[in-house]
């Protein structure tokens, strides 16, 4: 266990080395949040208060937080795995007494800490102190902590499926871009799920993506969430987390047999 903690620590230390990268990523997300503020204010101007049962404030907070979580979970796991396969670096992981999935997850967690400091913290600062939403309470923040951890686990496992695919295909450029788009759209991170047509909402309900953004965000911006609903949300997340983890265990046992180690 301690070795994975060391990996998390080293992964964080490695990512924080590049100073300019640090400062620019901090800024870029804040600009994005300012942009969606003006975009959605324009959309709401002609609507008289509420669209699809969501006020401007709710929509804006929802989307600003969604993109902050998206950036928080953006750990490039799939890209790194594909890079390691293409360049043959994967061999350095395989010669270590370590579990490949836990190793990838430890690296991802280290990167999440980095993302938290560079992206999520400034964004939260802007959202809470500049826009001062009444929807977020201490209670809702505490309740959303476990769902956010589970959301990360689901998000990581989806990335890891794509990463394992690179054992077969080496490059995953197209697949990964498609995954990002599908996840952003179907998880409600670009447009709140409440805005979707009924039929699409039903389909999305059956997919794991909404468990990454929609569930923790709903918990975070709901002032009066019942315990029953909260547990239902947790149940959905937990099921997806276990299902995807099991799928990956199986997928790995197949993929490791075909991996070729490129170069020298």
């Amino acid at each position: 266990m301690k070795k994975y903690l060391m990996i998390i620590r080293n992964s964080f230390m490695s990512s924080i080395i590049y100073r300019f990268h640090f400062f620019y990523t901090s800024l870029s997300n804040v600009f994005y949040i300012i942009m969606i503020y003006f975009l959605w204010r324009a959309i709401y101007k002609g609507s008289g208060g509420s669209i699809n049962g969501m006020t401007f404030n709710q929509t804006f907070i929802y989307l600003a937080l969604a993109i902050s979580i998206f950036c928080l979970f953006k750990t490039w796991t799939d890209w790194n795995m594909s890079y390691e396969v293409i360049n043959g670096i994967i061999v350095m992981n395989l010669i270590k007494p370590m579990d490949i999935q836990l190793l990838a997850m430890s690296k991802a967690i280290g990167f999440v800490f980095y993302n938290f400091i560079t992206v999520t913290l400034p964004a939260l600062f802007v959202i809470i102190f500049i826009f001062q939403p009444g929807e977020i309470t201490v209670r809702s923040i505490i309740l959303s902590l476990i769902p956010i951890v589970l959301a990360f686990f689901i998000s990581f496992n989806i990335d890891y499926i794509i990463g394992l695919t690179s054992f077969y295909t080496e490059s995953i450029w197209g697949i990964s871009i498609a995954k990002d788009t599908i996840v952003l759209l179907l998880s409600g991170a670009l447009i709140p799920i409440n805005f979707f047509p009924e039929i699409l909402r039903k389909i999305v309900g059956l997919l794991p993506f909404q468990a990454i953004y929609h569930i923790p965000l709903t918990i975070l911006i709901s002032k009066d969430l019942s315990i029953y609903e909260y547990l239902k949300f947790l149940g959905i997340q937990l099921s997806w987390a276990i299902a995807l983890y099991a799928l990956n265990r199986f997928y790995y046992s197949r993929a490791i047999k075909v991996v070729t180690v490129n170069g020298g």
Binding site: M92, M98, T260
Partner: protein, 342 residues
């Protein structure tokens, strides 16, 4: 009594590779091609290794050395054959098996690129669950032998290739593995660093009794380190035996390389013919033009004095530049096929 720590029987690894049609249009065709060919990277090899041995795998580029190492280190699953190392079948019990081995690939590093060297050592300590007293003992030993402390606070990406290699090698000894695989540990290094690395491997083998398997494509580094040599070409073992015997035969060989002024296309054949006539040997001295314009002659000094050949060339031609090197692996392989090492 010594025991065989490595037992390999009839081991093969075949790769399925998409045939490339070549060219711009061809690369589009390849998108839909199902035209595969089978490459026999390793083809039915068998050998045994005893504990504490240093074994050199010698072979030209693409001979199958790295693939063999990757199968022995549990990374690749063999297509057929059996492999049994230190009580494990490497690819089956990968996680348990690799605890007791070390692997160094000359082209890659196991150190963390962005952070200081010492941090990588600390993480290896956790990964291999090295006891603190063993870790400290080893660090002390490395300092006594090689004095690399000055490198520890430097981030790995700022080290030179030679420095990085030294650190990578001592890192592989950190957890007292029973076997270490070195894949081309001295590739791309200059002579002085090469010597330093060879001493390092030799000393650590002596102190720790580690079994060492080393691959190389140049004869010098294998000769310097190993007592036993396995010569591999096109996926098969073509010689497995004492390095002394090998040295007795190939130690006398030198490759004379000359760059000549005003040499026209046909005169290489003339040169080859006259040299053959003037200096008769069991196998005529091969005269070859390399891609870069150098002409190389592989000379057995037991039969012909290199000096005489050089004198002759100097008399007949204008020499722009010359160098004398040890015999190239490709030539060794050719000579073995010609039956010189049986």
């Amino acid at each position: 009594m010594t025991m065989n720590i490595i037992k390999i029987e009839n081991l093969s690894k075949h790769f399925k590779i998409l045939k490339s049609s070549g060219g711009f249009i061809g690369s589009f065709k390849d998108l839909f091609s199902r035209d595969y060919k089978i490459i026999k990277a390793v083809d039915n090899i068998s050998f045994k290794v005893q504990e504490g041995e240093i074994i050199g795998f010698l072979g030209p580029n693409g001979a199958g050395k790295s693939t063999t190492i990757k199968m022995m280190s549990g990374v690749l699953e063999p297509t057929s054959g059996s492999i049994f190392i230190n009580g494990y079948i490497p690819y089956k019990d990968r996680k348990k098996y690799v605890k007791n081995i070390g692997v160094v690939f000359g082209q890659r590093t196991q150190l963390w690129w962005e952070i200081p060297v010492i941090e990588s050592f600390k993480i290896l300590k956790e990964i291999y669950k090295i006891e603190p007293h063993i870790y400290n003992e080893n660090m002390k030993l490395f300092n006594e032998l090689f004095n690399l402390e000055a490198l520890y606070p430097i981030p790995v990406r700022k080290l030179s290739l030679g420095q990085r290699m030294l650190c990578d090698i001592i890192a592989s000894f950190l957890h007292n593995p029973k076997i270490i695989f070195f894949d081309e540990p001295t590739i791309g290094l200059d002579v002085s660093v090469k010597n330093k690395i060879q001493t390092l491997i030799k000393d650590l083998n002596k102190v720790k009794k580690t079994t060492i398997i080393l691959t190389s494509h140049d004869t010098g580094s294998v000769e310097a380190l190993c007592r036993r040599l396995i010569l591999i070409d096109k996926g098969s073992i073509i010689y497995d035996g004492d390095i002394l015997k090998f040295n007795r035969i190939f130690g006398a060989y030198r490759t004379l390389k000359v760059e000549l002024e005003h040499l026209e296309g046909s005169s290489i054949e003339v040169l080859s013919k006259t040299i053959g006539e003037r200096f008769p040997c069991k196998h005529p001295i091969p005269v070859r033009e390399d891609d870069d314009g150098w002409i190389s002659l592989t000379i057995n000094q037991d039969e012909v004095k290199l000096q005489n050949v050089l004198n002759y060339i100097m008399k007949e031609y204008l020499i722009k530049d010359l160098k004398i090197e040890e015999i190239e692996t490709e030539d060794v392989v050719r000579k073995v096929y010609e039956g010189e090492l049986v």
